[in-house]
């Protein structure tokens, strides 16, 4: 954890957009970037094997018919909380020796309006962005249309951003 002490410094760390999530100062070679691909492969296997990419599992979740998805998200959050606490407590550094930076999330009304809109879409497609990519890997080619629409949605948000309440 980097040493951010004063409130002013903390404010500067508040990120306007969580899209910028590379907090490393170092640039990496293509070969070095492959380590993220390896983590992604593990994630992709879990997505398919735990049936997280299934439209039916998402419907069961929102109809309160199955504990499966709640169990997955609940366990993941718990493991995440413990991991982040350990990293902070012991000031664990990255493998290249950098201080680990975790930027705070800034509140905006977007989390309410955007959150609701995403929730509607999540229940329709049965997939959040990660599973959409996994569905392609699982051989469901038509999902490229859903990803294309999601890109159009993101692009439209970029176009209208200044006109939307935040």
């Amino acid at each position: 954890m980097s040493t951010i002490n004063t409130p002013k410094q903390q404010d500067e760390m508040l990120d306007d957009t969580s899209a910028y999530i590379n907090h490393s100062e170092k640039s990496e070679s293509t070969l070095s970037l492959l380590k993220y691909t390896i983590v992604g492969i593990i994630f992709g296997i879990v997505f398919v094997k735990a049936e997280i990419i299934s439209w039916f599992r998402i419907q069961e979740m929102f109809r309160l018919e199955s504990f499966h998805m709640y169990g997955i998200i609940g366990t993941a959050v718990t493991v995440g909380i413990i991991s982040v606490a350990i990293i902070k407590k012991f000031s664990i550094k990255t493998i290249s020796g950098e201080n680990i930076v975790i930027v705070k999330k800034k509140f905006s009304k977007g989390q309410i309006f955007g959150g609701l809109l995403f929730g509607l879409g999540w229940a329709m497609t049965g997939a959040c962005p990660g599973p959409l990519f996994a569905q392609i890997g699982a051989g469901i080619g038509s999902i490229i249309v859903v990803i294309g629409s999601a890109l159009a949605g993101t692009w439209t948000y970029g176009l209208l951003k200044e006109k939307l309440p935040h």
């Binding site: 640039s27 992709g44 735990a50």
Partner: protein, 191 residues
């Protein structure tokens, strides 16, 4: 060995999946100071391919290139799981959901996604078009408006005890409940 492979091929329990997904958070932090978040990739792709002079897409997306490597991994992992560790049995679905879907003329209950709703053929039906095209649009628009999705807010944000992420997660769930229980039944009738 065969027994082990059989076990891997059966659907994985929630606690195994939850632990592995939770460990992705420290893994990304430790191997490269990266924060877990997938929907950002949709923005990076827009910034790289269709920036159209929109300020929101003018930033150094190359610095976030690692995340696209991560997504390529997800695609490869899903391919491996489907090709080599595929579950030989049909999907198990809750009986209530099954009967509701039967009434709504959703008949393919064997695959991860119902063919009747998600396929190139389904795109030509009103309900398939709405779910794939409008649903996809809402996912892309909503995640960026909310500044994150299930990974960035529900998992990474909550792992770091961020209350804005809790607000976002509650709204994701609320939107999903409303869609599945009150709107989807009408969409599925549009055949």
């Amino acid at each position: 060995m065969q027994q082990f492979l059989d076990k891997l091929s059966a659907p994985w329990p929630w606690y195994i999946a939850g632990i592995i997904i939770g460990l992705i958070v420290p893994a990304l932090l430790i191997i490269g100071n990266k924060t877990f978040g997938i929907s950002s990739n949709l923005r990076h792709i827009c910034a790289a391919c269709f920036p159209a002079n929109i300020p929101f897409f003018k930033y150094n997306w190359k610095k976030e290139f690692w995340n696209l490597f991560f997504v390529v991994g997800i695609i490869i992992g899903a391919f491996i799981a489907t090709q080599y560790l595929s579950n030989p049995n049909d999907l198990v679905i809750d009986a209530n959901l099954k009967s509701t879907l039967n009434e709504l003329n959703v008949t393919d209950l064997k695959h991860l996604l119902p063919n009747d709703l998600f396929s190139f053929n389904a795109l030509t039906t009103p309900r398939g078009f709405i779910l794939m095209v409008i649903g996809g649009f809402l996912v892309g628009f909503g995640t960026r408006y909310a500044n994150g999705c299930t990974s960035g807010h529900a998992i990474m944000g909550l792992a770091n005890l961020q209350w804005p992420s809790l607000v976002a997660t509650i709204c994701f769930m609320l939107g999903g409940f409303i869609m599945t229980n009150f709107i989807l039944p009408f969409i599925l009738q549009l055949k």
